[in-house]
């Protein structure tokens, strides 16, 4: 369709928007009503002075009549005022008369949407970050205890000296606990802010990339791309060290996927559940591969309740990809009670324990449900054994969150790491906690 043909239609639309009759507009620009009628029905071409006169009289830019308004801008503007239908009807008029302002509105709307998404993401994080949730609970519970105790102490009602001493002691210990929990939270938030922009190690970088696809690489599953092809899209912005680790990780993922393809694993998982031993028996695939494959199931199948953590023979954590609710230290050593480390002492012996995982050992999770996990662990030598060479080992711990804690009796309570764990009578404690034992309290009360 000719560009010129549409000019008449635009003139007609603008005239109607201004509430002018055909004869009135014709009179204002010095032409006959019948000629304007022919123009508006695209039966006469116009340009030059007449086009300029019409644009001036209709109070629009000449280019609007000749070129029209970009359809995309009108659509964006309508979207921007979608909650105000009355204004949406006039989007074209605004875009036509004030195209630059229209673009400002559209870009502001896009910015608002982006900021809203960030707020939602941060809010979601506060709700689901186990450390924040537990810390908040710790702080509010301590505040409650202090408030109740202080109210009792200031109550004019008689209280014997023993009770008064007891409540005074409680008040003191709770105030110390509150100060410690507050400091720990502030410290965590500070380090967390920094880590939004930089990962602590190449493994952290790689883990973030793996988590960005939910631990599941569809292109490797289907064979559409090899490790290099997947790395180009998923690992394009990581450091060279993380990329090197990633290529090794993706190569093993591909081999694991060939050994136990999804079309075999998914029906089995749906039939027998997250049962590594049964899946290993039925497929003849080794347990380490079964554990890794279960961890790579898509979240829409597992409900996001499955994760995996690995470490090398020194106990250094390699991949930290836990399910929601299982806290893992960002830096430093983890809780030595994790079966992951016990497995290093018994290579090739599969271990199964139910873990009560929380900052308060065995406590409840961020959503209030019991924080129990089935931990399936095995330690295996890496690579082919070589004569007269001590193999290096890697342990894998598959974690499956239990949605129901009923019927569980033998629970191994673990924490994320000593500094984040308030349990006082733990034989495995290697350093003081910042939560319950007092961040700055000195065992010898030195000033």
């Amino acid at each position: 369709m000719s560009r010129k043909i549409l000019i008449g239609t635009r003139v007609r639309e603008r005239r109607l928007l201004k509430g002018l009759k055909q004869a009135e507009l014709a009179n204002l620009v010095g032409i006959s009503g019948s000629y304007l009628n022919l123009i508006e029905h695209n039966r006469r071409r116009i340009g030059g002075k007449l086009l300029a006169d019409l644009a001036r009289t209709l109070e629009v830019e000449q280019s609007l009549l000749s070129d029209g308004v970009e359809a995309g801008l009108i659509a964006d503007l309508r979207d921007a005022v979608e909650d105000q239908p009355a204004n949406a009807d006039r989007a074209e008029e605004l875009a036509g008369r004030f195209p630059r302002w229209a673009k400002v509105i559209v870009s502001q709307k896009a910015r608002i949407a982006e900021l809203e998404q960030r707020v939602a993401a941060l809010s979601d994080r506060v709700s689901h970050d186990p450390f924040l949730s537990e810390s908040l609970h710790e702080i509010l519970s301590t505040v409650t205890a202090i408030h109740s105790t202080a109210s009792i102490l200031v109550d004019p009602e008689q209280m014997n000296a023993t009770w008064r001493k007891r409540f005074s002691d409680n008040l003191f210990s709770d105030s110390e606990r509150l100060a410690s929990a507050g400091k720990a939270l502030a410290k965590y938030l500070d380090s967390d802010k920094a880590s939004d922009f930089e990962a602590f190690s190449p493994h952290d970088e790689l883990d973030r990339a793996i988590q960005s696809v939910g631990g599941h690489f569809e292109e490797l599953e289907t064979g559409r791309f090899g490790p290099e092809g997947v790395a180009k899209s998923v690992l394009q912005s990581v450091s060279p060290s993380a990329l090197a680790l990633g290529l090794t990780y993706l190569d093993r993922y591909r081999k694991d996927a060939q050994a136990l393809p999804m079309d075999v694993l998914v029906p089995l998982y749906q039939r027998v559940g997250c049962n590594p031993a049964r899946i290993g028996e039925e497929t003849g695939v080794s347990l380490p591969i079964v554990l890794r494959r279960l961890a790579s199931l898509p979240a829409d199948i597992t409900g996001g309740h499955v994760g995996v953590i690995t470490c090398d023979g020194t106990g250094t954590l390699l991949h930290k990809l836990p399910p929601e609710g299982f806290s893992v230290p960002r830096v430093g050593a983890a809780c030595s009670l994790w079966p992951l480390f016990g497995a290093l002492l018994q290579p090739l012996v599969p271990l199964h324990r139910v873990l009560g995982a929380s900052l308060r050992a065995g406590g409840s999770g961020a959503d209030g449900t019991a924080n129990l996990f089935d931990a399936y662990t095995i330690c295996e030598p890496i690579g082919q054994p070589k004569f007269n060479e001590t193999p290096t080992y890697e342990a894998t711990m598959l974690l499956v969150r239990r949605t129901d804690g009923r019927g569980v009796s033998d629970v191994l309570n673990v924490g994320p790491a000593c500094r984040l764990c308030p349990v006082t009578d733990c034989a495995a404690r290697r350093e003081r906690s910042v939560l319950a034992m007092g961040f700055d309290s000195d065992p010898l009360n030195r000033v």
Binding site: S127, S133, L136, H137, I139, L140, S141, T142, V143, T144, A145, H147, S148, T149, S151, I152, E157, W163, R166, F167, N170, S173, D174, G356, S358, R360, A361, G362, G363, S364, G365, G368, T369, A370, L372, D404, G405, R406, V411, N413
Partner: protein, 123 residues
């Protein structure tokens, strides 16, 4: 007749404070601080009402509330939930599971006394 409350809460100093203020009001308090065997304690103490924390070791307060409501002997017992989080979804979940009342930490002693009195009057 002396009224009797079971307090299921894992903060020892909260237990001590609530026990003290309710005792002053002539209400007997039993305390239980672990989620694992809470229902058994409800059965053995047979209280007039239960104060139940949401976040407990080994078992969440929501699961315990569900157990209580599924037990025909205690399906109607008044239960007030305590939590450190006042999120709407938690309140809704507690009420859906059959909580009688809901109190968010931090609360004052007078809040507790008022709520427990109302709970016992309705029992």
């Amino acid at each position: 007749m002396t009224k009797h409350i079971l307090l299921i809460e894992d903060e020892p100093n909260i237990i001590e404070a609530i026990t003290f203020i309710l005792l002053r009001k002539g209400i007997k308090v039993d305390a239980h601080s672990n989620g694992a065997s809470a229902l058994e304690t409800v059965k053995s103490t047979n209280p007039d009402a239960v104060i139940l924390d949401v976040m407990l070791p080994n078992r969440s307060g929501f699961d315990i509330l569900q157990d209580i409501r599924e037990d025909t002997d205690f399906a109607e017992i008044p239960v007030m939930m305590l939590t450190a989080r006042g999120q709407t979804k938690d309140r809704e979940r507690a009420m859906e599971l059959g909580a009688t009342a809901y109190m968010t930490k931090p609360f004052s002693n007078s809040d507790v006394i008022e709520a427990i009195t109302a709970l016992l009057e309705g029992a």
